[in-house]
C-alpha cells in the first residue's frame, strides 16, 4: 500500500481517520487487485488479501479488516471492486456472519475474539448461525431457558437447552448464543452472550422442514456443551444488551440490502409482465404498477438508511424498512401467482433438501417465493414486534404494560 497505516493499538483505532479519501482508497483497491487478479485468484485468498489491506470494512480498525476510515467510503471500495471484477458481496449463507457476527464482535468483542473470528468470517471460511429462539421464547426472547452454568474448576461454561428455527445451523462453524446465567434475576438481567463452536461435543443439529418443503432452518439441541470463558462476549449478565445490538444489525441487514432498481422480486414481476402480454389484465396492471412504485420507495428508503448509517450505528429505524420489505415481497409474489393463473397452481420442487452455499434462488418459482416470503414477517422479529419497537423507541409512545420486568425469571409463570 502506498501510505502508512496508523499504528495498531493507538488511539486512532477508535477514531475515524479523516485522512482517508476516496482517491486513496481507490488506489488501495487497485493495489490489491493488481497483486491478486480476481479472475485467477481463489476467492478465499482474494478476500483474505482484501481483509489484510483493510478493505473489508473500511471503518473497522486496522488489523481487523479496516482502516478506521469514514464508513461512508465503503461504497467507494465496493464500486471499485465491482468494476475490477471481484467476486460479488453475495452473502447467502454468510448473512449472519457478515451482517450480525461482525458488527457485534466489533462493538462488544475483545481483541482476541476479533483477531480469531473476523478474518475467517470475512473470507467465508467460517459460516455463522444465530442461536436465539427457543420453543418457549420467540418474540419474548428474554424469556429463554437455555442454561449456561459456570464450571468453577475450569472456568468453562456448560450449556444445556434447546434452540429452534436456527437458520443454516447445519452449515455453521460458529453460533451466536444467548443463554441464561442468572435465573434468580429478572429475565433481561440474567442473560449472557457466547460464541459456540457448532462442532463441539453435545451440539446436535436436526433439520426442520419448512413450508417451502426444504429445510433452511433447524432445531439445535445443546447437551453439556462446554464453552471456554474466552468465548463469552460482553460481561456476564450483559447478554440482553449484546443481543439487542445483534438484532438491530439483523433488521438493517434484512431491510436495507443494497438493491438496484428492479432488483429482487420487483424485477421478476416486471419481467413477467413484459414477457407475457397474454397474461395481462387491467386490474392486475394497476397492482403491478403500484408494486413497482412501492418497491422503488422501499429501495430508496433502504438507500437513504444506508447513507445515514454510513455516519453512525444502526438505530431502530431499520425496523420500518424490514416491515415494508416483508409486506412488499409477500404482495409481489402473490401477485405473480395471480398473473400466472394456471401455471401458478403448480410448484417447482417439494424435495426435502437443505440449501447449499451455491444455491441460486433466482431460478426458483414464484410459488416458492410466495411461501418463503411468509417467513419474512416472522424471522428477525415479527412485524407486530417491530411495530412495537418503532412505536416505543422511535416515536416514544408509552410501553406495553408489563408484569414480568421485575420478577425473578425463575418465578415467572411458564
Amino acid at each position: 500500500m502506498a501510505s502508512a497505516q496508523p499504528a495498531r493499538g493507538t488511539r486512532t483505532d477508535k477514531r475515524t481517520d479523516r485522512t482517508w479519501t476516496a482517491d486513496r482508497l481507490r488506489s488501495a483497491v487497485h493495489d490489491v487487485v493488481t497483486a491478486h487478479d480476481p479472475a485467477t485468484t481463489d476467492p478465499v485468498e482474494f478476500l483474505g488479501a482484501l481483509f489484510d489491506a483493510g478493505l473489508a470494512w473500511v471503518h473497522f480498525p486496522p488489523g481487523h479488516g479496516g482502516l478506521s476510515a469514514p464508513r461512508a467510503l465503503q461504497s467507494v471500495v465496493d464500486d471499485e471492486l465491482t468494476a475490477a471484477g471481484a467476486p460479488p458481496r453475495a452473502p447467502g449463507l454468510h448473512t449472519i456472519g457478515l451482517g450480525m457476527a461482525a458488527p457485534v464482535l466489533l462493538a462488544f468483542g475483545d481483541e482476541a475474539q476479533k483477531k480469531r473470528f473476523l478474518r475467517p468470517l470475512f473470507t467465508r471460511r467460517e459460516v455463522w448461525c444465530q442461536l436465539f429462539s427457543e420453543p418457549g421464547a420467540g418474540s419474548d426472547l428474554a424469556a429463554l431457558a437455555t442454561r449456561a452454568e459456570r464450571d468453577e474448576a475450569t472456568g468453562d461454561w456448560v450449556v444445556n437447552g434447546q434452540k429452534v428455527w436456527t437458520s443454516v445451523a447445519h452449515e455453521a462453524h460458529w453460533g451466536l448464543l444467548v443463554a441464561r446465567t442468572g435465573p434468580e434475576l429478572p429475565k433481561h438481567q440474567g442473560l449472557s452472550y457466547f460464541l459456540v463452536d457448532m462442532r463441539a461435543p453435545g451440539v446436535e443439529v436436526r433439520p426442520l422442514r419448512q413450508a417451502t418443503g426444504e429445510a433452511e432452518f433447524n432445531e439445535v439441541f445443546l447437551t453439556d456443551v462446554r464453552i471456554p470463558d474466552t468465548h463469552r462476549v460482553g460481561a456476564v449478565g450483559d447478554g440482553w444488551k449484546v443481543a439487542s445490538g445483534t438484532l438491530m444489525n439483523e433488521r438493517v441487514a434484512i431491510g436495507a440490502g443494497a438493491m438496484p432498481r428492479e432488483g429482487g422480486l420487483a424485477g421478476g414481476l416486471a419481467r413477467l409482465w413484459r414477457e407475457r402480454p397474454e397474461l395481462r389484465t387491467s386490474g392486475l396492471h394497476s397492482s403491478v404498477v403500484r408494486a413497482w412504485v412501492d418497491a422503488e420507495a422501499l429501495r430508496l428508503t433502504a438507500e437513504r438508511l444506508r447513507q445515514q448509517l454510513a455516519a453512525g450505528q444502526p438505530g431502530p429505524e431499520g425496523s420500518a424498512a424490514k416491515i415494508a420489505f416483508a409486506g412488499l415481497n409477500q404482495r409481489m409474489s402473490g401477485l405473480a401467482l395471480d398473473l400466472l393463473g394456471e401455471e401458478g397452481l403448480g410448484y417447482d420442487d417439494w424435495t426435502f433438501r437443505r440449501p447449499e452455499p451455491d444455491d441460486d434462488f433466482s431460478t426458483r418459482s414464484f410459488g416458492f417465493f410466495y411461501l418463503r416470503t411468509k417467513g419474512n414477517s416472522i424471522e428477525g422479529g415479527t412485524t407486530e414486534i417491530l411495530r412495537n419497537v418503532i412505536a416505543e423507541r422511535v416515536l416514544g409512545l408509552p410501553p406495553e404494560p408489563r408484569s414480568d420486568k421485575t420478577i425473578p425469571w425463575k418465578d415467572l409463570p411458564r
Binding site: 438496484p260 387491467s282 396492471h285 404498477v289 420507495a297 437513504r304 412495537n388 412505536a391
Partner: protein
C-alpha cells in the same frame, strides 16, 4: 432497467442551516390560531409572510442565478423550503410563483420579469388548472388573437396574490406561453376567488378579455417549457406533501401520548401504536422518494419525469393516509374547526389532486418503465 447512479438522499449542511430560521419564522408568523383566523378573513394569503420570505430570508428565488436576483442555490434547497411551508400549511404563493412560474421562466431564458419574481416583489401564477398533470396536451382554454389573450382558466392556484400571470394559449401559429402583467392589464383580466377544498391555498378562476400579453415561448418550445414547469412542480410538490405528512405524524404522536382514556395514554394501546408505526414507515419512505425526485431535478437528470411521477404516485397517497389517520386518532377534537388538523387534511387531499393524481402519475410511469397496460 438500467441501474440508477446513487443519489444523495440526505440533507446537507446548507439545507439544514436553511431550515432553522425558516421554521422559526413560520412558527412565529403563522401559528394555527392565526391560520384559522386568516382563512375567515378577506385576505386568505399572508402577504406579510410572503414579503418576509423574499426580503428577509431571500428564499423566494433560491433556484434562480444571482445575476437574476436569486440566491443561486438549487432545487434541493427549494425543496427544504417547501417541506417547511407544508409543515406550516403556510398561505403563501410559493409553489405557484417560486416553483411553477420560476421553473418556466428559467427554462425559457425569460429574464425580463425573473428578478422581480425571484425577489418575491411580484408574485406570479401559472394559468392552468391546479390539477393539470404533466404529459397532457397543451391547454387551449385561452386563445391568442393579435397580441391579446382571451379565455377562461379555472381553479388556478396562487392566482389571488399574483401580479404576473404566465398563460399558455393557442393561436393561429400554434401554442405559446405569454406573460400578462396584471397592473397593465387593467380590467381585461378578472380574478374570481373560488370556494376551494384547501383553505390555505385558495384557487381562483381567471377570465381574460383581450388582455395584453408578451410572448415568452412559442411552438414546440412553449410545449417544452410548460412541461418543464409542470414536471418541476410535481417533483417539488412531493416535498411540500412530505412536510404536511410530517406535521400530521408528529402532532398525532404528541397528542396520543398526552390524551388519557381507560386510565392510560391512548398511545399505549397497541392498535394505535401499530397504526402510527406504519405511518412512520410510510413517511420515511415518502421522504426518500421525495428526496430522490428533488435530486434528479437538481442534477438535471434525463429521468426527471420518471422520478417526479414516482414521487407523486407514492407521496400523494402517503400524505392523504397520514392526514386521514391524524384526524381519526385525534378523535372528536380532530373533527372540530378549531383544531388545525382539518387544514392539513384539506391541503393533503387537494395536493394529491394537484399536478396530476397518483393514478395519472402511475399511468405515466407505467409507460416510462415499460409496464404497458393490458391490451
Amino acid at each position: 432497467m438500467s441501474t440508477e447512479p446513487t443519489v444523495d438522499l440526505l440533507y446537507n449542511e446548507v439545507e439544514d442551516e436553511l431550515r432553522l430560521p425558516l421554521r422559526a419564522l413560520l412558527a412565529d408568523r403563522c401559528p394555527a390560531v392565526a391560520l384559522l383566523a386568516r382563512i375567515e378573513s378577506d385576505e386568505p394569503y399572508d402577504t406579510g409572510l410572503w414579503r418576509a420570505l423574499g426580503a428577509e430570508l431571500g428564499v423566494t428565488g433560491l433556484s434562480v442565478p444571482e445575476e437574476y436576483g436569486g440566491a443561486g442555490a438549487g432545487w434541493r434547497e427549494t425543496a427544504v423550503v417547501l417541506e417547511e411551508l407544508g409543515r406550516a400549511v403556510a398561505p403563501v404563493p410559493y409553489l405557484g410563483s417560486s416553483v411553477l412560474v420560476t421553473a418556466a421562466l428559467m427554462a425559457a431564458d425569460e429574464t425580463r420579469v425573473l428578478p422581480e419574481v425571484a425577489a418575491g416583489r411580484r408574485a406570479a401564477a401559472l394559468a392552468v388548472p391546479f390539477s393539470t398533470s404533466p404529459g397532457l396536451p397543451f391547454p387551449d382554454a385561452v386563445r391568442l388573437s393579435g397580441s391579446a389573450l382571451s379565455g377562461t382558466v379555472t381553479s388556478v392556484a396562487d392566482a389571488l396574490p399574483a401580479r404576473v400571470l404566465l398563460v399558455p394559449a393557442t393561436g393561429a401559429a400554434g401554442p405559446g406561453l405569454y406573460l400578462v402583467d396584471l397592473a397593465a392589464a387593467g380590467d381585461t383580466v378578472t380574478v374570481t376567488p373560488r370556494r376551494s377544498l384547501d383553505l390555505t391555498r385558495p384557487l381562483a378562476d381567471l377570465t381574460l378579455r383581450s388582455a395584453p400579453a408578451v410572448p415568452v415561448a412559442l411552438g414546440n418550445e412553449a410545449i417544452r417549457v410548460l412541461e418543464v414547469a409542470l414536471t418541476t412542480g410535481a417533483a417539488l410538490l412531493a416535498s411540500e406533501q412530505l412536510g404536511v405528512a410530517e406535521w400530521c405524524l408528529t402532532t398525532t404522536v404528541g397528542y396520543v401520548r398526552e390524551r388519557h382514556q381507560f386510565g392510560r395514554p391512548v398511545g399505549s394501546f397497541q392498535a394505535v401504536k401499530h397504526r402510527l408505526a406504519d405511518l412512520y414507515g410510510l413517511v420515511s419512505q415518502a421522504r426518500a422518494v421525495a428526496r430522490n425526485a428533488v435530486a434528479a431535478l437538481d442534477a438535471g437528470s434525463p429521468h426527471t419525469a420518471l422520478e417526479a411521477s414516482l414521487a407523486q404516485a407514492f407521496v400523494s397517497e402517503a400524505v392523504v393516509e397520514t392526514a386521514e389517520a391524524a384526524l381519526q386518532l385525534h378523535g372528536g377534537i380532530g373533527f372540530t374547526w378549531e383544531h388545525p388538523v382539518h387544514l392539513y387534511l384539506k391541503r393533503a387531499k387537494s395536493g394529491a389532486l394537484a399536478l396530476g393524481t397518483a393514478d395519472r402519475h402511475r399511468s405515466a410511469l407505467a409507460l416510462l418503465v415499460d409496464l404497458p397496460p393490458a391490451a
